[in-house]
């Protein structure tokens, strides 16, 4: 693997990128293109499969194998590919509508099976491609063209949803923070099985500034609670402590550092990561970012293939002639 020395340029396709100026997708693309050489995997063994949405144009811009499929179904297609071709590194690119509305079923099932997929969920909390309807992650009361008097639905928290679906690797990052996103991609790539990475992504056209609180120099320090395995969970101003069996956010000035919770991404109890995921509401005033959960669990494709290997080891490779001649047979002379 290490003898391959590829660069960002090698992963950049000749297609003209067509997102709106200022779209958060640009920085995610650039981060991914810069990160891919680090994988040490030849380009031909990398596949990006997307659904439909602005974000799902992503595969066109990467010089790897890629498929821009249909709305919501990328995890299903990618599952078939990853299970039948364990030699490939398969990524899924999806949006909040793609992954959580039309494709919600496939997402949760891919996660519970732990198929070897790295799923990048671009969450701009809006339907970009269809020009700005509210999405399953939009805050309640969202005014859009389809909800002129405000949306009524309670939004999904994608991290909580993924954890409820038994995901073994769940993380959150932000489009503009290349360093952070790269760290997460690195951890996801060595994880065996499904990884869900929610990436907050700004849509300057239909939902501009949705994540400004997490980006503005003035507010982000206080808002972002960093999740790093083995380190205390805190922002610049707040930290997390345990109180009465649950988590509580407190001002750093009011507690000693030693009282803060030390993050354990490998905690086998999903309730721990789930509780972390509930700290942020749609208001985004305190948002954990980083890896919520990273636990080892047998991955689906490897189990499928080892079941087959085991049967072959016990019974030998199938012989077509014996199969056709099996069961009750008789001879006519």
């Amino acid at each position: 693997m290490s003898d391959i020395s590829l660069t960002k340029k090698d992963f950049t396709s000749d297609q003209e990128v067509k997102w709106c100026p200022g779209c958060g997708d640009y920085s995610i693309l650039s981060t991914v293109q810069s990160f891919l050489p680090e994988l040490g995997i030849p380009r031909e063994n990398i596949v990006f499969i997307s659904g439909i949405g602005c974000s799902s144009r992503f595969p066109y811009y990467l010089e790897t194998f890629g498929m821009h499929s249909i709305h919501g179904r990328a995890p299903a297609i990618a599952s078939g590919l990853a299970i039948s071709r364990p030699d490939l590194a398969v990524f899924v690119i999806t949006g909040d509508g793609d992954a959580l509305s039309i494709g919600g079923n496939h997402l949760i099932h891919a996660l519970r099976r732990n198929v070897e997929l790295k799923i990048l969920l671009f969450n701009n909390r809006i339907y970009g491609l269809t020009k700005g309807q509210y999405s399953p992650t939009s805050e309640t009361g969202k005014i859009t063209k389809s909800t002129p008097t405000g949306s009524l639905d309670t939004p999904f928290n994608p991290i909580s949803l993924a954890l409820g679906a038994e995901a073994s690797f769940v993380a959150r990052s932000i489009d503009s923070d290349r360093k952070h996103l790269t760290e997460i991609l690195r951890a996801a790539s060595v994880h065996k099985g499904s990884a869900l990475i929610e990436i907050y992504q700004n849509c300057p056209i239909f939902n501009d500034g949705a994540f400004d609180l997490l980006k503005d120099g003035g507010t982000k320090g206080a808002a972002l609670l960093q999740l790093r395995h083995g380190e205390v969970i805190k922002s610049d101003s707040h930290g997390l402590i345990r109180e009465d069996g649950s988590f509580k956010l407190v001002e750093l000035t009011s507690v000693a550092e030693s009282e803060l919770i030390v993050h354990d991404a490998h905690n086998p109890d999903p309730a721990y990561a789930f509780a972390l995921s509930r700290i942020s509401g749609s208001a985004l005033d305190h948002v954990p970012v980083g890896i919520f959960r990273d636990v080892e669990r047998p991955s689906y494709g490897s189990m499928v293939n080892s079941q087959i290997a085991e049967v072959i080891a016990n019974q030998g490779v199938g012989d077509l002639d014996s199969l056709l001649n099996s069961g009750d047979t008789w001879e006519v002379n």
Binding site: S13, Q15, P42, R43, E44, N45, I46, V47, I49, I52, P59, Y60, L62, E63, T64, F65, G66, M67, H68, S69, I70, R73, P75, A76, I77, A78, S79, G80, L81, A82, I83, S84, R85, D87, L88, N105, H106, H109, V304, Q307, I308, V311, I312, Q315, G316, V317, G318, L320, D321, L323, L324, N325, S326, G327, D328, T329, W330, E331, V332, N333
Partner: protein, 633 residues
């Protein structure tokens, strides 16, 4: 002609007694050329197993056979009610037969509901064997009878044998320590034993089957064997049954045979296709009647490297198959009509991506959930046209259970060579029905090896093969040909996204031309005198009843030609000429005229439809009558 089954001759060996039956049958023996038997009972009575065993014992004697199970939609409808009745019909003969038979010659009814549900299909003079123990007042009322049908002379025109099946079974099993309820469960084996005596079936295969099945439960094994033997002895010794029957072996081409259902034949065909193409077989499926057995069967064949993936829904099932196919596997999905509806968008993507994909639609009664356990041919237009845009797919339809094997190979050939989605339209009748299959030699099977795109400079993912018009099958893992594909319209050659109107028009026509140009065999027309004026033209599972009707019609001096379309898209090239040749074309279909519609619109031929959606196959008589109606207008 000599017949050997692998168990040798029938030898009954129960509790120490060894009886060579051929020597023992002492009553008069009547020779018959064919018999239709229907076993009917509560869905818990084991009628499918009973039918299956009788079928196997019959097949091994060298009779030609055709079978048709009929199950209720509910797994366990209330016991003793008409909706809970399950049945199994088999037709066996000393000559080649085409159908499971119109009307049973003999009905075995395990309770009043089974009698009530089936009596309407019985011709006068037929034999009915009932378990008279089950005709209690309570059961009679449950079945919907006012009075006991065994006592009100309503069965006068039948030969009725009211046998105390339950109590005889229980009495025989008294020596085995088990509850009465458990003992009663063996009564289907009593019935099977009785029928085995009546029709001189060998018994050893069934005995071995029971030993294999219940080997770990000695009491149950002993009970079943004893019930079986008691049933046989009952026929031999009681006055009730005066004669037994024999049916000589049919003249079948020499070779090794086994009995096979359409669903099993499809599964075997796919395993064979995978071996012959050297492609990994990937089945993505979501359970649905009557297609589920394909998933079950293929799940057993891991040693062939087969991957079966029970997906979360039909969309994921076909999606995973397409993903596998993109990766260079033989991607297959199996379902029924409602599942096809869900898969449509993904099949459209396969059309656009121009990747191989096989979609098996085992049709059932529709629309919506319809009649899940009943047969119908009403998905033809759905698979032809049920997608957005100009979205051509190949449609194949096996005509018999054994034809399913061949059609699986054909679907693979076409899907992999032309890189298109291919439908296999089976239906509940051929899926569950069975017939003897002459097992092919591996050397007779076609070479289905494929070529993937190789490493090359300036790879063009949508450059077409001039002959097949197929684009390259370019799988991940191949250095230097990394490329992007998707559902957006493709530019010719490069496959880049293109909104150009001329290119779109070109690509739409190209995809259509590719499917239209697929090499399919000519339609074979059976017209012995060459001057028939009427053609019976069918597709799919109507083959049996049509062929059987034709035999009778010709025997009566009628001139009728027969042709059966197994390739529905594209149609065989000679179909236009065939349609032109016959002034009258009768098209029987278990729908309201879907093939007729296609023929009228594509060939401007005013064919005559014969259409019925009763959830059961056409009877031979129905086809004869429909043909007479067009012959003598």
């Amino acid at each position: 002609m000599r017949i050997n089954n692998k168990y040798g001759e029938g030898l009954l060996n129960v509790s120490g007694a060894s009886l060579r039956k051929e020597e023992i049958v002492s009553k008069p023996v009547v020779s018959l050329d064919h018999v239709v038997i229907r076993f009917a009972g509560d869905s818990g009575d084991g009628m499918q197993l009973t039918g299956d065993r009788f079928t196997m014992d019959t097949a091994s004697l060298g009779n030609d056979i055709s079978t048709l199970p009929n199950f209720p939609a509910e797994i366990r409808a209330p016991q003793g009610t008409v909706p809970g009745v399950s049945s199994f019909q088999l037709h066996f003969a000393d000559h080649h037969i085409q159908t499971p038979g119109d009307a049973p010659d003999i009905l075995v009814a395990m309770n009043p509901a089974a009698l009530k549900a089936n009596i309407k299909d019985m011709a006068r003079g037929a034999t009915i064997i009932v378990d008279k123990d089950e005709f209690t007042e309570r059961n009679i009322v449950k079945a919907g009878y006012q009075v006991n049908p065994l006592e009100d002379n309503s069965l006068e025109s039948y030969k009725v044998h009211a046998v105390a099946l339950t109590s005889l079974t229980v009495a025989a099993l008294a020596q085995i320590s088990m509850s009465r309820k458990d003992a009663e469960r063996s009564k289907n084996m009593f019935a099977l034993g009785l029928l085995a005596w009546m029709y001189h079936r060998p018994t050893e295969a069934t005995e071995n089957f029971l030993k294999a099945k219940f080997g770990k439960k000695p009491e149950i094994l002993a009970a079943n064997l004893l019930a079986y033997q008691t049933g046989w002895n009952y026929g031999e010794t009681t006055e009730d049954f005066a004669v037994s029957y024999e049916i000589a072996p049919a003249h079948m081409p020499a070779g090794k045979y086994r009995n096979i259902s359409g669903n099993t034949a499809l599964a075997y065909g796919l395993v064979a296709a995978s071996q012959l193409s050297k492609l990994k077989l990937f089945l993505g499926s979501y359970p649905i009647t009557p297609a589920t057995d394909i998933l079950h069967e293929l799940s057993k064949h891991k040693k062939f490297g087969v991957i079966t993936f029970q997906a979360e829904d039909e969309i994921a099932a076909v999606g995973s198959a397409l993903g596998a196919s993109y990766g260079g596997s033989l991607g297959v999905t199996s379902t029924s009509g409602p599942g096809v509806a869900l898969k449509s968008e993904m099949i459209g993507l396969a059309v656009m991506l121009e990747l191989p994909l096989i979609i098996i639609d085992v049709q059932r009664g529709g629309p919506s959930t319809g009649l899940p356990t009943k047969t119908e041919q009403s998905d033809l237009l759905q698979v032809m046209y049920g997608r957005n845009g100009e979205s051509p797919a190949v449609v194949l339809a096996p005509s018999t259970p054994t034809d399913c094997f061949k059609m699986a190979l054909e679907a693979t050939r076409i899907a992999t060579q032309y890189r298109v989605p291919v439908f296999i339209l089976s239906d509940g009748y051929i899926a569950n029905g069975s017939q003897p299959w002459k097992i092919p030699a591996i050397s007779e099977l076609p070479d289905l090896q494929v070529k993937f795109a190789q490493t090359q400079e300036d790879f063009l993912p949508y450059l077409r093969d001039p002959e097949t018009l197929a684009r390259p099958w370019a799988i991940p893992g191949t250095k230097g040909i990394e490329h992007r594909i998707g559902g957006l319209e493709k530019a010719d050659r490069t496959g880049a996204i293109s909104y150009d109107s001329q290119n779109h028009d070109y690509m739409v026509r190209m995809r259509a031309a590719k499917v239209a140009g697929i090499d399919v065999p000519d339609l074979e027309v059976d017209d012995p005198t060459g001057d028939a004026q009427t053609l019976l033209l069918g597709w799919g599972s109507t083959f049996g009843p049509i062929a059987s009707a034709i035999e009778t019609l010709r025997a009566n001096g009628e001139k009728v030609a027969q042709a059966h379309i197994r390739y529905l898209n594209p149609f065989p090239k000679n179909l236009a000429d065939v349609l032109k040749k016959y002034p009258t074309v009768l098209v029987p279909e278990m729908n309201l005229g879907q093939l007729s519609n296609m023929l009228r619109s594509q060939y401007m031929k005013d064919v005559t439809g014969y259409n019925k959606v009763f959830g059961v196959p056409f009877t031979t008589l129905e086809i004869i009558e429909a043909t007479m109606a067009v012959l003598y207008v």
